[in-house]
């Protein structure tokens, strides 16, 4: 057998092994058809980060649907700033901790966390509480401050960005979760799931000088999509983003959104943001450009959204 054939066969076999017939078996066992299919998006409000994650993942079909035993998982939070969790500059560490645990419990062989920070990476990792959270949960937090960690990949569907250097942890991963925090942003206007992609690439200045919104949409067309986008809106930064100055920039709205679709979750997040501060869809150009690039729809009316209040 040729090496290539062998690899191909084992890949198919592997994929077959991972097929999940639980639903079918359950349906056969009860001889009924399940009326309620898994929702396209789950929005949840009123709980603590870990508890909301629990319920949201359960509602969307359970984490086991996304992670197979032995897979390498990457979690990509926003850890851009040397800010404490109370100032909402970075993704909530409790959420990250709970998610790392869930991934490991689901059988992940390794859970890696990183962000290409803006402030000094060690300060960001520490002050955000995320380094401690990841380590206590058994995950691995890795540096992303040096170009050598990044490898060039092609972005064939990008308009302005045709290739980018992406962190190797993500290139090696089997599954990844995009876990931004919802924030106001001086340049991109809204910092959420799509904007969070800027932390996986090395050269961000290219983004700023080649139409920021288009570049954000472009990088989201990279073929390796996150299994889920999980938007932390426990505390959101409604002004002076993305860094923020003080607690006055923060609104604690105790919410969480989960969806595999990045345009849809950012559209929903913008709606949530508008509950606190007015922000037009037109201003957040990258969401519309994402729709143009067929990454998803900004029309949430046809979507099956499960809303939960605790």
């Amino acid at each position: 057998m040729k090496r290539r054939d062998f690899l191909r066969t084992s890949a198919v076999a592997g994929a077959a092994l991972t097929l999940n017939f639980d639903g079918l078996q359950a349906a056969l066992a009860t001889n009924t058809m399940s009326v309620e299919s898994a929702p396209d998006m789950v929005a949840i409000m009123g709980g603590e980060p870990a508890a909301m994650l629990d319920k949201a993942l359960e509602a969307i079909g359970g984490i086991n649907q996304y992670i197979k035993k032995g897979q390498k998982v990457v979690i990509k939070p926003n850890i851009g700033w040397d800010r404490t969790p109370e100032l909402a500059g970075n993704t909530n560490p409790e959420l990250i901790k709970a998610l790392v645990k869930k991934c490991l419990n689901a059988g992940a062989s390794k859970v890696t966390v990183f962000d290409h920070t803006c402030d000094d990476w060690q300060k960001c990792y520490k002050t955000s509480g995320i380094a401690a959270a990841v380590e206590s949960a058994g995950g691995l937090i890795v540096p992303a401050d040096v170009e050598k960690y990044y490898k060039e990949v092609s972005i064939p569907n990008g308009v302005n960005i045709k290739s980018a250097k992406i962190h190797e942890a993500l290139l090696e991963a089997d599954v990844w979760f995009n876990v931004p925090i919802l924030k106001n942003h001086g340049g991109a206007k809204l910092s959420c799931a799509m904007k969070n992609y800027m932390g996986i690439v090395w050269d961000r200045r290219i983004f700023h000088s080649n139409d920021l919104h288009q570049c954000i949409a472009d990088i989201c067309t990279w073929h390796k999509k996150p299994a889920l986008n999980i938007v932390d809106a426990y505390r959101i930064m409604h002004q002076n983003g993305p860094q923020g100055k003080s607690a006055a920039d923060v609104a604690t709205i105790k919410s969480l959104l989960v969806s595999p679709n990045i345009v849809e979750i950012d559209t929903a997040a913008l709606g949530l943001f508008n509950q606190v501060k007015k922000l037009e869809m037109e201003a957040v150009g990258h969401i519309g450009k994402g729709q143009t690039l067929k990454l998803g729809s900004t029309d949430l009316s046809k979507m099956n959204i499960k809303r939960i209040k605790i």
Partner: protein, 520 residues
Amino acid sequence: MRKQTNYLKGLRVLFAILFFIPILLYFVDFTGKLPQGLHTLLHLQLVPAILGGMIGILIFQLLLALVFGRIYCSVICPAGVFQDIINRLFCIGKKKRKGSMRFSYHKPLNLFRYILLGITVLLALVGITELVVWLDPYSNFGRIAANLFRPLVIWGNNILAGWLMAFDNYTLYHVTIKSVMLSGVIAGLVALLVFVLMVVFRGRFFCNTLCPVGGLLSLVSRYSFFRISFDESVCNTCGSCERSCKAEAIDSKNMAVDTSRCVDCFNCTSTCPKGGLKYRFNPPFKKAKKEEEAVADPQSRRTFLATGMTVTASLPIVAQAGRRMRHRNTNGDQENWGPVTPPGSIDLERFKDVCTGCHICVVKCPTQILKPAGLEYGFDYLLRPHVSYKTNYCNYECTVCGDVCPVHAIKTLTPEEKKVTQVGIATFIIDRCIVNTEGTDCGACSEHCPTQAVHMIPFEGTLTIPKVEPELCIGCGGCESICPVNPHRAIIVKANNVHQVAQLPPEEEVKEFEIDDFGF
């Protein structure tokens, strides 16, 4: 007898190691893991103590030299210990005659060394610290460690880190070196070369001719209470002490020791097979002995005084020249803007007068934005650290450079003081800005501004463009470092030659937000 003398040399070596190793590690540590308190060791250095106006340390060091001789040069001074290490390495594998016993007595170059010392001091008094910067042993050692040893250590680390990474071990991490500049490397190499050549051919020649600290201490150690002297009843003038003396200060034929050059290394006392040299309480006022006369001949004292007078008389001329040299044009277009000096340096002229260019701040700056200057800011700023925002910016709450500066050229700031210390002001050049030239959103500058002195205001359509509030700006360079416009950025920090106090960003009320709907 011999046991006691060996013990002295052992003690000297032990203390030298206790001072040297922490200082060396402090300079090459790139992880920030070493306790920051180690900078206290740097405050003991004489030139920093004098320039920093730390009278207590100066008096202590002079008293130490008066009582025990130049122990400073063998123990406290890292450049002194470093030269001993070079000597040790040089001696490896060599016969004694060509190695550790290769020295011989030379007459002191008193005229040269005291004129040089005089000029150095006088120039420093009128604010021209060039000679201090080049000759200070501590700063020279600092430049060798910071610009030569540290990059080597980091390269070693990077190789190891890459290797460990393959095993998912991130205890070591890759470090990019950004603060090593050509000027620093050249300065380090020159200093290293000078040390090596002088040590190989003439032992502690640097310390006894060029070094201003050695010169100053020699004036005191001439009269030191404890000193090495011959025991004429035992000595058979075999000359082994003379050959072991790296300071070339022992005249064995005349049984005389020049205590002005002796650095108390105790090599001679441990070499003498007879115990013919002793370190003992033997102050010059006890009795004007033969050896004292033999070395400190009146001729040299007379020349010294005459030279001193001449130099003092020329003081006003030197001062005038100095002033002219220092009044450079610091205005003009932005390519000629003056250097941004570190927060806590207060004022450009003051900073130039005090900084000795030891590069400990360069080494300790966590974002590596402090860089040794070449000639871009003029000859009188050479090797001083300036703030460069090309790759990174000054962390809002960081005060490390001021904390470690042994000269207090960079004053220690509290985080509260730091947050309002305005080292410069961001200057926005709209003709270069992406938002204006390309008609697309950017906002990278405002994004990185910790005080929102750079904030976005409405422009065309939904576009927003930066605006600077100068009174809020502290010149941290967050904006400049991230501006995507090349090669000339659209927002640049213009240095304040005298640092100002910025306003604190206005406090805003913390509001409670109650929402009960998702909004979609």
